[in-house]
């Protein structure tokens, strides 16, 4: 892999000088301990893939009505790809659910329909707009973020379809509350997560039994980092929505974030819409997902960009995590993804 090699050679990561015995200032006494051990015959991507497939098969086998949550973002694209690999040459033995906020990037909806069809899965769409129309949630207004409202729509869909397990693409490196969550995360009959009462989860013994009305969230990508996701996308040639790659579009700068101008986002007050070359690092509700300035038009470019970024994925792109120190924990307690 050319990119990998050149990155390795040009990098100045602080630990780069820790070659066996090569750290300056080390007495000889410690040198003997610094011999590189022989690694596993499989590389880290192979191991991450294999464990994710193991988890998907285990949950599919132990639950009655599983479902895969699909947002059209890169993590759910990887998850759908892994689900397909887990059951080849058969089809994915569960449906795919998209919780649609109604604030979508057009590219993402087109992509969603094409991907789900390509994998031969059945798509269920649950709309936040329906929850608003039914009076299940208050309408926050046409331009406000509907991110938090998704929880009600999601839990209603889980109840309506009697789903007892929902696969999600969440990763532990995304957020400090996610970092605490088990691979199989138990939800009570109100859909709530109790971080103080998580089940012990030892070895690879994923224990997925639930009682009627309760359900599990299963996170097969728990141990993947943003970099692992991109490396895997490169290796498996996974197609993503075009907005992940650099393109020029009108944006406004708000709260230090670049928001795409759309039917929901228009310049307010002193704000001016400007054409900027950007890409999206995550894909969510269009009213609160920020773009980042970027010229990365290929996966290799993005891998290079991710390896030198000083800002975390959610820090760069999610307005909804900025409300308070524990936004994600609070939303997860309510039943969020």
């Amino acid at each position: 892999m050319d990119t990998a090699t050149s990155l390795r050679a040009s990098s100045s990561l602080p630990l780069g000088d820790a070659a066996p015995g090569g750290r300056p200032g080390h007495p000889d006494a410690s040198v003997t301990a610094l011999v590189r051990p022989v690694g596993h015959p499989l590389g880290h991507l192979d191991l991450l893939e294999s464990l994710a497939i193991f988890i998907i098969r285990e949950v599919a086998a132990e639950s009655e009505r599983p479902v895969l949550l699909f947002s059209g973002g890169k993590d759910s694209a990887v998850l759908l790809h892994l689900a397909a690999k887990a059951f080849k040459p058969g089809r994915i033995p569960f449906p795919v659910l998209h919780v649609d906020t109604g604030h979508n990037f057009d590219e993402v909806l087109t992509y969603r329909d094409a991907q789900v069809e390509a994998e031969g899965a059945r798509l269920i769409v649950s709309k936040v707009q329906d929850s608003i129309d039914q009076g299940r949630v208050a309408d926050p207004g046409p331009v406000a973020s509907r991110n938090r409202l998704q929880t009600t729509t999601l839990l209603d869909a889980i109840t309506a379809h009697s789903f007892d397990a929902a696969f999600g693409g969440a990763r532990r490196d995304e957020d400090k509350a996610r970092a605490k969550e088990r691979v199989l995360s138990f939800r009570n009959s109100f859909g709530q997560w109790d971080p103080k009462k998580q089940r012990p989860e030892l070895w690879q013994l994923y224990q997925g039994s639930v009682r009627p009305g309760e359900h599990l969230r299963a996170f097969p990508l728990s141990d993947w980092t943003e970099m692992d996701i991109w490396q895997y996308i490169r290796r498996e040639r996974i197609v993503l929505p075009s907005i992940y790659y650099a393109h020029t579009r009108p944006v406004v700068e708000r709260d230090g974030m670049l928001l795409a101008v759309s039917q929901w986002v228009a310049p307010q007050g002193d704000e001016v819409a400007r054409d900027v070359t950007v890409r999206f690092r995550t894909v969510g509700d269009a009213t609160c997902t920020g773009a980042v300035r970027s010229d990365a038009t290929t996966v290799d470019d993005i891998i290079r960009e991710v390896s030198t970024s000083r800002i975390s994925e959610r820090g760069a792109t999610r307005a909804d995590d900025r409300f308070s120190e524990t936004s994600m924990e609070d939303r997860k307690r309510e039943g969020y993804f």
Binding site: L15, F54, K180
Partner: protein, 446 residues
Amino acid sequence: MRDISRTMTKLPSPPPSGGQELGADTMDLLRFATIGSVDDGKSTLIGRLLFDTRQLFDDQLDALSTASERRGLDEVDLSFVTDGLRAEREQGITIDVAYRYAATPHRKFVIADCPGHVQYTRNMATGASTADLALVLVDATSGLREQTRRHVCIAALLGVDQLVVCANKMDLVDWDKSAYQGIVDEMETLARRLGLVSCTVIPISALNGDNVVERSDAAPWYDGPTVLDSLESAEAGGWASQHGPSRGSGARLPVQWVLRQPGGGRAYAGMVNGGPFRTGDAVVILPQGLATTVRAIETADGPLSRAEVGLSVSMRLADDIDVSRGDLIAAVEDPPEVTDTFDATVCWFHDRPLVAGDRLRLKHTTRVTPAVVESIEGIFDVNELAVSAASSLRENDIGIVRLRTALPLALDSYQADRITGSFVLIDELTIATVAAGMVGRPSLHC
């Protein structure tokens, strides 16, 4: 409130790196867990390690600074890097395991920062059950506590055989060599009796970063490795890790799912453990005891002639025999023992004591079966490192029990194979996981 860069006095100006790893598709992976008693500094050490190796992003550092300030702290509290829950920050303790990820050009790390409090031993066991190495924190001002010994015992029973011990808070004892030496003596005795492979003791201050990533000149009498040196040179992918090879069991594939082939026929999906499978291998289906051979090994990317340990595959067999989820395909040489009655070492996590006659569900590999406790054979004393008689096991006790299951199980001893030698017990009423079990009795070198 001091500025974070001044608090972190040892920090040179940050290079333009988010601390993510480089673009290579194959790197080796070391999983380690922090263990030890509450308040001995586990979370602070992980915060320090991540900070000094520049694995933290600017927005995460800003958030740490703000969170510390809001709690009226004078300095940035590095434990907030992993203590992410509201209740944890409130109380300044760790309740559940936090997983963090780090990478150097040498390897990737999965870090399980475990709670020290006795009440959360089940969470510590969760974090340690997949670790290659345990990073043990000992407070140099107070020495080894019972809880530290309990954690080291649990880690050793789980098969974590590499210890890196941090004699922490050395700054509070003026870097007194005798305080360090006392911990070395106690830990080495403990490690020897538990049969551990390696035990390195490092004098550190997690708060100030001495001997964590950078060598400290505060202890000129110490010439061993730093914490990071030890982590970079430890054996990865060892026996106890998630995908490690077995110690003496042959190839095994617990069947997870039966895949029907388009042209008829079936393939049995699961993850390989114990040793590699090759096409043409003679195998036995357990518990039935039927012999056949491996006709093909398949993955979504195509067929394989050899499947390594840790790989998820599907397998086709030469003979058309009845195989379903929960069955085990094993190499015909040295197969596991099929039995419905066996002794096991268990860590009990329920607040109701475990007694003879208790009925539970047991999950072993991909099979779930009712089980009954025939007898409590004894309790493991973490101070004496000996088994004594007991009639019940209380929460967080480690004991030896005799179990009988409704379905026969294909078992290896945990010492031989951590996949086919491990199980969990499930409460029938709450269906919560209430015990971690290891087939066989603890092996001690007393």
